[in-house]
């Protein structure tokens, strides 16, 4: 397995004394689609800032595709494309110029830069905005422009810090599709997001960071297995006066048409539907009460907070 990112004992203490990272160890394999999740202030953006040379580390070792940030910074930088959380391009420059200039910073001559800019602008549906100043773009277009800019030098590793924040669902899904395509072409992707559905859909492996430390690092599949109990909302066809008693399935009435039922992983769903049928309750639809990953995430972070209190 070739390692895209290797982080050992990474620490960051800001000048105000705040310890943002307290010895982070992390490895991301080449070709992975990796989620780095954590609550606000957990250390995600600091970690990404250090990987992209925007934040200086206080201690630890970081290498990108074997290039140590301390000794081979330029080679490491060549491997990375970064899509930051906040818009960070000149508001007065045209979209196409932003991409061509960024290519120039990587030593790509103007002619080739123009071709690449056209390719990515077309691919991300921004070609008709190529001569528009970036400040005139909508939020979703700005996000796509940042993705195009991050890819202009064809990096092996793409780091996305909340790339779909404030983007409508249609554009978000088209961005997911695009990211899956470039991942399939071999680009390693690291994603931070507050939309856990996004992480569950896209990422194969996941690390959860909290309080400046990695508290969980596993594959998405293994992580979801840890969810022993799922909560479902059942929409009933008829009015329910009270919550029915379903043997082995704790049930509560949400409103006169909706039941909330907890299902243990070991039990499965068949027994539940047998119970419901026995009581003459007809279910028209069902859904998870919340995203599965979201439930796990909250449990892990809450558990970590309680450990800290203890």
């Amino acid at each position: 397995m070739t390692t895209a990112i290797s982080i050992r004992g990474l620490e960051k203490t800001y000048p105000n004394g705040m310890r943002a990272l307290k010895g982070v160890d992390l490895e991301v394999a080449q070709g992975d689609f990796f989620a780095l999740l954590g609550p606000n202030g957990a250390g995600k953006s600091t970690t990404i800032g250090i990987l992209s040379s925007l934040v200086s580390k206080s201690a630890g070792k970081v290498s990108i595709f074997g290039h140590d940030l301390d000794t081979e910074l330029m080679a490491a930088k060549r491997c990375i494309g970064v899509v930051p959380q906040e818009f960070n391009f000149s508001q007065f420059e045209k979209c196409q110029d932003i991409l061509i200039n960024q290519a120039g910073y990587y030593g790509i001559p103007a002619g080739e830069a123009r071709e690449r800019a056209e390719h990515f602008l077309r691919r991300l549906n921004l070609w008709d905005k190529r001569n528009v100043a970036s400040r005139m773009l909508s939020g979703g277009m700005k996000r796509r422009l940042m993705i195009a800019r991050a890819l202009i030098h064809e990096p092996r590793l793409l780091i996305l810090d909340e790339p779909t924040a404030g983007v409508d669902i249609e554009i978000r899904r088209s961005m997911w599709q695009f990211l899956e395509e470039i991942n399939a072409q071999g680009v390693t992707i690291i994603l931070t997001t507050h939309y856990l559905e996004e992480a569950e859909q896209l990422c194969r492996n996941i690390a959860i960071i909290d309080g400046g430390q990695i508290i969980h690092n596993t594959s998405m599949r293994e992580l979801l297995k840890e969810l022993q109990v799922e909560t479902f909302l059942l929409d009933c066809r008829d009015v329910q006066a009270q919550a029915p008693v379903l043997a082995g399935y704790p049930c509560a009435l949400v409103d006169d048409h909706t039941l909330e039922v907890q299902v243990d992983r070991e039990q499965g769903m068949n027994g539940l539907f047998t119970e419901l049928a026995a009581q003459g309750i007809q279910v028209s639809s069902l859904r998870n009460k919340s995203n599965r990953l979201e439930e796990l995430f909250l449990r892990l972070v809450d558990g970590n907070a309680q450990k800290g209190v203890a």
């Binding site: 040379s53 910074l73 330029m74 930088k77 960070n88 200039n101 910073y105 030593g107």
Partner: protein, 258 residues
């Protein structure tokens, strides 16, 4: 080989971006100094100058033309870099450069030579404007070009350092208003220091702009209040000193990296 080729492409990208920037907003960058200097030529050169008589053996307007050209070069070189680099920081588009494999030398040269380009462009405009009011005959062309280039470079580097330390827009106007303008007006643009009492002549020699203005005046008119060799040495020392200081700021990420 690739390193040099990539660095050259990155350097030209920054430089041309800077030239395009000040050219695109020419009503803010190139036109005002032309108009201001034309007013100086009319008021100080023609109207008041005709009553002043000779200065250093020349008509007053001929005497002040080199100083006014230098004044325009100094203020525009400085303000181009300080405003451009600070707004790059302010909009966070500096991160585009910081994540890329661009050497601090390339960033520094790109921005400062962008400032030099604007300084020289404005200097050329003012020079052409002056031809409506006087006949300009350059005595030492090589020296004139060297002095204007070095002066522009010194103040571009100064603007860069100011931008690195600046935290808000007030910080980028303090130095031009309270340091550059007084030093320029007291730097022999409008008068020869021989008119001053001996004590103030000595004080004036501390002002580096006096040496630059006089060296430039010597290049054009062939007269100077100061030693040209000392002036050139002073400019070279300033260029090297400010360059090394700016480079150190960039390497350390002062004002740029957390």
């Amino acid at each position: 080989m690739n390193y040099w080729r990539n660095s050259w492409v990155a350097f030209t990208t920054i430089l041309f971006k800077e030239i395009r920037r000040f050219s695109r907003i020419w009503p803010q960058t190139l036109l005002p100094p032309g108009i201001t200097m034309a007013l100086y030529f009319v008021i100080f050169g023609n109207l008041i100058g005709s009553r002043i008589g000779d200065m250093g053996g020349f008509d007053y307007i001929d005497y002040i033309v080199p100083g006014l050209i230098m004044m325009a070069v100094i203020t525009n070189s400085y303000s181009n870099v300080v405003s451009s680099f600070f707004s790059t920081k302010f909009q966070r588009s500096i991160e585009e450069l910081m994540v890329a494999p661009v050497s601090p030398h390339v960033i520094l040269l790109g921005y400062t030579l962008g400032g030099v380009a604007r300084g020289l462009a404005v200097g050329l405009i003012v020079t052409l404007m002056s031809l409506f009011f006087t006949r300009l005959q350059v005595q030492h062309i090589g020296l004139t070009i060297a002095v204007v280039f070095l002066t522009s470079l010194v103040f571009s580097l100064g603007g860069f350092i100011n931008a690195v330390y600046a935290r808000n827009f007030d910080d980028i106007s303090i130095v031009p208003t309270f340091v550059l303008t007084p030093l320029t007006y007291l730097g022999g643009v409008f008068y020869s220091i021989n008119l001053l009492p001996e004590f103030w002549q000595g004080v004036s020699l501390i002002n580096p702009i006096l040496h630059m203005v006089n060296a430039f005046r010597f290049g054009i008119l062939g007269v100077s209040d100061i030693n040209i060799g000392v002036a050139l040495l002073l400019m070279a020392v300033f260029v090297v000193g400010l360059y090394l200081f700016s480079y150190r700021l960039l390497v350390r990420g002062t004002g740029l990296r957390q």
